[in-house]
Symmetry: C2
Subunit: 259 residues, 2 copies
DNA sequence: TGAATAGTGTCTATTAGACATTATCCC
DNA sequence: GGGATAATGTCTAATAGACACTATTCA
């Protein structure tokens, strides 16, 4: 019996369907506060939010107006939620092909006053300099970066507080458990630049101690020295440059790790 | 301006909406092959699939008939996809309140011939003895367990091959990186029982070596000895019983781990 | 020369990993 | 005693973590 035959008998109306299918994106960047010449940077993990306009594109009163929210929008029928997130991020910031990852589905009944609306939550990592091109679109009155510490004190739209809390937890986890820190850095970086990225999410002494970390980085299997390449952008002493090796799976079971 | 006012102007019809919203569940269990009295078990990681019936509940030809598929079904408007997965799992196996986790969204256009249908993928862990109650429901001609090695050789419905590959990767990862092995074991277990679970997904010598593992288990911060409790179910020599400590976050950064 | 970051020398306590040995129990 | 699993003794090589020290450069 063929699928074709079966399809003739199929009726979509037999189940209620959602009223909307959207993708939201938590766009993270790291603000590099230059402390001075010949100094390693101080870094702060930031999240980009938009302020919802009073009126929508059609000039009608907007839902959750004047609250801060994650950028996002409706998924088109010819794309996946992941592709929609990529598209929307590019529309919003003119950035494409950067790190973007799905991390959750938000579909609790009542989460959106407009009806049964499902949101796919993604987080993206955009290097600071790429974000300069950001712009407010029709629905947004403002676009701004907030540190992950202050962002939860805002008046947030829909269930975005919950989504943002999860996004922050996920990126903190991923920064320490995967080589995703790569996305915040240039291709070649010094030990202190990588250290600065990690210090935005941990105070593990193995990472915060300069000597320990500068030694450790040489032995990590997913990082390699760029032989002979040094820079002076973080110190007067020329500093060794490193890069991430191509995709590596790091899986040390918790049952054999050291504690 | 209130949300109430804004809602009066809102029109659902302005965006196309999905034709269906479903939850699928990869139900894993571990088959404990008893080798004999006073021996630790040999374990195999199994996945439960259903065989789609020729005819659906209404007596009409079924889509993807006679192929093997993940159990699942449509999400109701008054529940989340996660709740739907829990409900469906209970309908299918009479098991409730076990480990269940969302791990992905499958929404590529064309993945289901019936239209724009979004599936939330979950994996669940069900102890072997609970699965005995499993039954085929209306849409299923058969229910069966397959080892994760043989399951990919089956003729699988929709895009379930892709979903199952991801599910297997996720559970292998989680077994080694989180204390989820707990869900496969009784409250109290011996080192060799835990070891048998882990051996279904790794051949790391730190785990496969009896002496090494029986020593290591004593030092793991998320496992504690049940003082004075021993069992003889795995050997003639009484063996120490252990249990998982209450929820613990295990985060050893890859940047400080030992390699 | 002073100040600052990068990087090394060296010591200690811990431990992973390996191998040998002992313990316990049932038959 | 034989056989099997559990658990400990012991040695070695590796290394995390800490502290002191040296190297490099610019002002």
């Amino acid at each position: 019996m063929s699928n074709k035959e079966a399809l003739e008998h199929y009726d979509h109306k037999q189940f209620r369907t959602p009223d909307g299918y959207t993708s939201d994106i938590a766009v993270f960047t790291i603000l590099s506060t230059k402390i001075g010449e010949f100094k390693p940077p101080h870094m702060t993990l930031m999240l980009m939010l938009i302020k919802r306009a009073q009126l929508n594109a059609e000039g009608q009163p907007n839902i959750e107006a004047s609250k801060w929210a994650l950028p996002g929008g409706f998924v088109q029928p010819d794309e996946s939620a992941y592709e929609a997130a990529k598209r929307e991020l590019e529309e919003e910031t003119s950035v494409n092909s950067i790190h973007i990852k799905h991390f959750g589905v938000y579909d609790k009944p009542g989460r959106d006053p407009r009806g049964w609306i499902i949101s796919n939550a993604h987080y993206a990592i955009v290097p600071e300099h790429e974000l300069s091109k950001r712009k407010a679109n029709d629905d947004a009155a403002d676009v701004r970066l907030f540190s992950v510490d202050e962002v939860l004190q805002l008046d947030l739209a829909f269930d975005h507080r919950e989504i943002i809390e999860a996004a922050i937890a996920v990126i903190k986890h991923d920064l320490l458990q995967t080589p995703v820190a790569k996305s915040f850095l240039q291709d070649h970086f010094t030990y202190s630049e990588l250290q600065a990225v990690l210090k935005t999410v941990t105070n593990d002494p193995a990472i915060t101690s300069d000597q320990a970390f500068s030694r450790k980085i040489k032995t990590l299997p997913f990082i390699e020295e760029v032989s002979g390449q040094k820079t002076q952008r973080t110190s007067k002493t020329p500093t060794q440059l490193y890069r991430f090796a191509d995709e590596m799976n790091i899986v040390r079971p918790i049952y054999s790790a050291r504690y």
